[in-house]
C-alpha cells in the first residue's frame, strides 16, 4: 500500500481524526517543551497529509518536539477552530500545510494575535512534479525549485527542520524548472512563531 492510500485508510478509520499516532507519544513532551512545534495538516488534501507525515518523521529524527493534528478545509475556515489551534501552539511554533484559502485565514488570524510567519512555501503540482517557492522575511528573494512528486516531500521537510533548528537554509541545488501554471493542485505550507 503506498503512503497516500495508507493515510487515506487511517483517515477513513478515524485514527487520524485528532492526532497522528506517530506524534501521540510526543504529546507530553510537546506540551512541556519550549521549542515545540504543532503541525497542522489539511485532511482533505492528500499532499498536505503526506507532507505533514514527512515533517513528523524528520522532526522525530531530529529530536524536535512536535505534535501533529489534522483538520478539514471547512474547519480551517472557522475562526473558532483556527484560534483553538493557535492556542494549542501558544508560545511555540506552528507549521501549517493546507490550501491557499485556509493558509490566508490561518496566517491572518495568527498575525492578529502577534504571530509572525517566518517561512511560507507555495507548492504547485504538475504531472509528476512539484514546484516549491519558498519565501521568508529574512530572505532577499524567494527560493524556487522543482522535484518529482515521488521525492516524498523530504527536501521541503528538511527546510522546515532547518528553520526550526535555526540552521542556515541552503538553496536546493535542483534547477528551478517545472510546472508553472495550471498544475492540478496548489498548496501552501508555512511556519509561524506564535
Amino acid at each position: 500500500m503506498d503512503r497516500r492510500n495508507f493515510i487515506g485508510t487511517l483517515l477513513a478509520s478515524g485514527v487520524l481524526g485528532a492526532t497522528l499516532p506517530a506524534a501521540r507519544a510526543a504529546d507530553d513532551l510537546f506540551l512541556a517543551g519550549a521549542n515545540r512545534v504543532l503541525i497542522v495538516g489539511q485532511s482533505d488534501q492528500p499532499y498536505a497529509l503526506e507532507l505533514t507525515a514527512q515533517l513528523g518523521r524528520v522532526f522525530t529524527a531530529a529530536g524536535i518536539p512536535h505534535m501533529q493534528v489534522v483538520a478539514g478545509g471547512t474547519e480551517l475556515a472557522q475562526v473558532a477552530h483556527v484560534i483553538a489551534l493557535l492556542e494549542k501552539a501558544r508560545g511555540g511554533r506552528v507549521i501549517g500545510v493546507m490550501d491557499d484559502a485556509a493558509a490566508v485565514i490561518f496566517q491572518e488570524l495568527a498575525a492578529a494575535r502577534g504571530g509572525a510567519c517566518v517561512l511560507s512555501t507555495h507548492h504547485r503540482f504538475g504531472a509528476g512534479a512539484v514546484r516549491h517557492c519558498c519565501t521568508s522575511a529574512t530572505l532577499e528573494a524567494g527560493i524556487v525549485w522543482s522535484e518529482p512528486i515521488s521525492a516524498q516531500a523530504g527536501r521541503i521537510a528538511g527546510v522546515y527542520a532547518g528553520a526550526i533548528g535555526g540552521r542556515q537554509r541552503a538553496a536546493p541545488t535542483v534547477p528551478a524548472t517545472g510546472p508553472a501554471d495550471g498544475g492540478p493542485a496548489s498548496l501552501v505550507s508555512f511556519l509561524i512563531n506564535t
Binding site: A77, A116, C117, R124, T138, A180, D181, G182, P184, A185
Partner: protein, 515 residues
C-alpha cells in the same frame, strides 16, 4: 544604526530614525515598537503584483490609547517620519496591512479594541479601530440584543472602522458602510483630537444619532484619505426584522445580466429589495462551492466559455446568481415575495429559497452575510488559481443593463488577453453598482505576476477612457487611480493635506495624496 534594519523611510537618515525609535519606545514600551524583520512579516504580505520590498515597513507600532497616538505624532512630526495607520489590517486584495510606500512605520491599532457603547434603543454602536465584526457579533449575541450590522465578506477577521474608512460595502440594507456610520473621533497630525458632527459639542448625547452637526460635514474627508487617524467610529445597527427571507435567482446565460439589472433596479430604488443585490458570475460561485479549476482547465490561459458552461451544468450554478433578501414582517414579505416571483418568472430566472439552499456552501455564506453573520466563506476564491496573488478591480457602473454587459465584456476580454479568468460580481447600491473583479494570479510565478500588473493597468486605463472610475484601489495602483480623477480634485486634496498635515507624516501616497 540598528544593524538588523534594512528599510528606512525615504529621505530619513539611519541615525535620525534610530533616535525616533528610541523616543517611540519611551512612549509605548519596547514590546510595542516592532523592528525585527520577523515581527514585521505580517505587515508585508501584500498579495499584489509588485515586489514586497516596495511596500516594506521600517517598523510597526501598536499604541493603546488616543494619548499615546498624540505623543507618537509629536515625535514623528519632529523627525518627519511617515506613519501608516491600520485598524484590523485585513485589507486583503487592496494592500493588506502593508504601508502604501516603502519605509513608512505601520501604526497598528489592534490593541484599541473596545466596544465603547451599544445603545439598544437607538440601535447605535461606538467602536474603536481594533474591534472586529466577529467581536461585535459575539457582543450582541451574548447580550441577546436583537440587532444586526452589515459586514463585508471577510467579516470574521476584519473590522467595521477600517472597512468604513476605506469605504467598504456589505450586504444588509445598511450595506453602504460610510452612509451608516455616524460620528468619528480623529487624531489630527498636530495631535489635536477632532470629533465630527455633534461630537464636537461638549456634553452632546447626539453624536451617534445625527450625522451633520453644524457647518461643513467633515466625516467624508477622513475616508479614503490621509488627513487624520480615526480612533472612534459611531455606526448604526439594524433591528433584526421579524421575518428575513433571503433568496437566490439563477440565470442561465451571460447576456441575461441586461434584463436582470433592468428588472431589479426599480425594486431596489423603491426599496422592495432593501439590501445591496449581488449578481455573481459562475466563476465567483465556483470556488466557493467549491469547484476545482483544474478539473475543467489545465495549462496556461483563461478558462474557456465551454468549460464555464460545463461547470454551470455539473454544479447547478447560474451564469449569473442574484442574491437579495426581503426584510420585514411576514405580511409585508408575503406581499413582496409575489413581486419577486413575478420578476423571476418574467426574466427566466430560477428562484432558490433558503429552504432549498440547504447543503450549498456558496449560498449559505451569502445568506449569512445578508443578515450580518460573519463568516469566511468567500476565501474559497483563493483556491481558484492558487499561488496567493489577488487584487480587486472595482469600477463603478450605472445600474443599467446595457452598462453592465459592456463593462463585463470589456473586462473579460482584457483579462483573457493576459490569461486570467473573469471572476466578477456586481453589487447593486441604489442607483449604482460596484463591479468587483478579483484578479487572481499565482504570485509565486514571475511571469503571471508581471502579467497581472499589466492587466490591471490596462483595465484601469481602458475603463477610465470610457469614463468609468474605480471606487477603491489597491495601494500599488493608488497613484494611477488618483490620476484618472483629474487634476483639480487632486490639487484640492493637496491643499487640504498641506493645511492638515504640513510635514506629510500621515500615510503619504494613500489614495494618491501627498505633498
Amino acid at each position: 544604526m540598528n544593524a538588523k534594519r534594512k528599510t528606512l523611510p525615504k529621505g530619513i537618515a539611519a541615525g535620525e530614525f534610530d533616535k525616533a525609535i528610541k523616543e517611540l519606545k519611551k512612549i509605548l514600551g519596547n514590546e510595542n515598537v516592532l523592528e525585527d524583520e520577523l515581527r514585521l512579516a505580517p505587515y508585508n504580505k501584500i498579495m499584489m503584483p509588485v515586489p514586497n520590498d516596495q511596500h516594506a515597513p521600517s517598523a510597526a507600532i501598536t499604541p493603546a490609547s488616543v494619548e499615546e497616538i498624540q505623543a507618537v505624532l509629536k515625535v514623528l512630526n519632529k523627525y518627519k517620519i511617515p506613519v501608516y495607520p491600520i485598524s484590523t489590517g485585513k485589507n486583503l486584495g487592496y494592500g493588506s496591512a502593508a504601508p502604501v510606500q516603502r519605509g513608512q512605520i505601520v501604526m497598528d491599532l489592534r490593541r484599541m479594541n473596545k466596544i465603547i457603547e451599544v445603545d439598544p434603543d437607538l440601535c447605535t454602536a461606538l467602536v474603536e479601530p481594533g474591534v472586529t465584526y466577529q467581536q461585535l457579533y459575539d457582543y450582541l449575541q451574548e447580550r441577546k440584543l436583537p440587532l444586526w450590522f452589515s459586514c463585508p465578506a471577510p467579516s470574521a477577521i476584519a473590522g467595521p472602522l477600517g472597512n468604513m474608512v476605506d469605504r467598504g460595502v456589505g450586504y444588509t440594507p445598511y450595506g453602504e458602510h460610510f452612509l451608516f456610520s455616524c460620528g468619528m473621533e480623529v487624531v489630527l497630525a498636530n495631535s489635536e483630537v477632532l470629533r465630527t458632527g455633534m461630537g464636537a459639542m461638549p456634553n452632546s448625547n447626539t453624536w451617534q444619532v445625527f450625522k451633520w452637526g453644524y457647518g461643513p460635514t467633515l466625516d467624508g474627508i477622513f475616508t479614503q484619505s490621509n488627513y487624520g487617524i480615526v480612533t472612534k467610529m459611531g455606526m448604526w445597527l439594524m433591528p433584526a426584522p421579524p421575518d428575513f427571507r433571503p433568496f437566490c435567482i439563477q440565470y442561465p446565460n451571460e447576456a441575461d445580466i441586461t434584463k436582470i439589472v433592468d428588472a431589479l433596479r426599480p425594486l431596489r430604488i423603491a426599496m422592495v429589495i432593501p439590501n445591496a443585490v449581488v449578481i455573481a458570475h459562475t466563476l465567483w460561485e465556483a470556488p466557493c462551492t467549491p469547484v476545482k479549476r483544474a478539473d475543467y482547465h489545465t495549462g496556461p490561459g483563461a478558462i474557456s466559455d465551454a468549460a464555464v458552461s460545463k461547470i454551470q451544468k455539473d454544479h447547478n450554478i447560474g451564469a449569473w446568481n442574484v442574491y437579495a433578501g426581503l426584510y420585514g414582517t411576514k405580511e409585508t414579505n408575503d406581499a413582496n415575495w409575489k413581486i419577486i416571483e413575478a420578476v423571476a418568472a418574467g426574466t427566466g430566472g430560477k428562484i432558490i429559497t433558503e429552504e432549498q439552499s440547504k447543503g450549498s456552501q456558496a449560498l449559505q455564506y451569502r445568506f449569512d452575510l445578508m443578515k450580518g453573520k460573519p463568516n469566511l466563506g468567500e476565501f474559497g476564491l483563493y483556491n481558484w488559481r492558487g499561488g496567493g496573488g489577488s487584487i480587486w478591480f472595482a469600477p463603478v457602473s450605472q445600474a443599467k443593463g446595457s452598462e453592465t454587459l459592456k463593462q463585463m465584456k470589456t473586462a473579460k476580454d482584457i483579462l483573457g488577453k493576459y490569461g486570467f479568468d473573469y471572476v466578477g460580481e456586481f453589487i447593486v447600491g441604489w442607483r449604482d453598482m460596484h463591479h468587483v473583479i478579483d484578479l487572481l494570479f499565482d504570485r509565486s510565478d514571475d511571469d503571471q505576476t508581471k502579467k497581472a500588473y499589466a492587466c490591471y493597468d490596462e483595465l484601469l486605463h481602458t475603463f477610465a477612457k470610457e469614463g468609468y472610475g474605480v471606487y477603491r484601489s489597491n495601494t500599488a495602483f493608488a497613484e494611477k487611480v488618483a490620476a484618472t480623477y483629474g487634476p483639480v480634485k487632486r490639487s484640492v486634496e493637496k491643499k487640504l493635506k498641506k493645511a492638515l498635515d504640513p510635514n506629510n507624516i500621515l500615510a503619504p501616497g494613500r489614495c494618491g495624496i501627498s505633498l
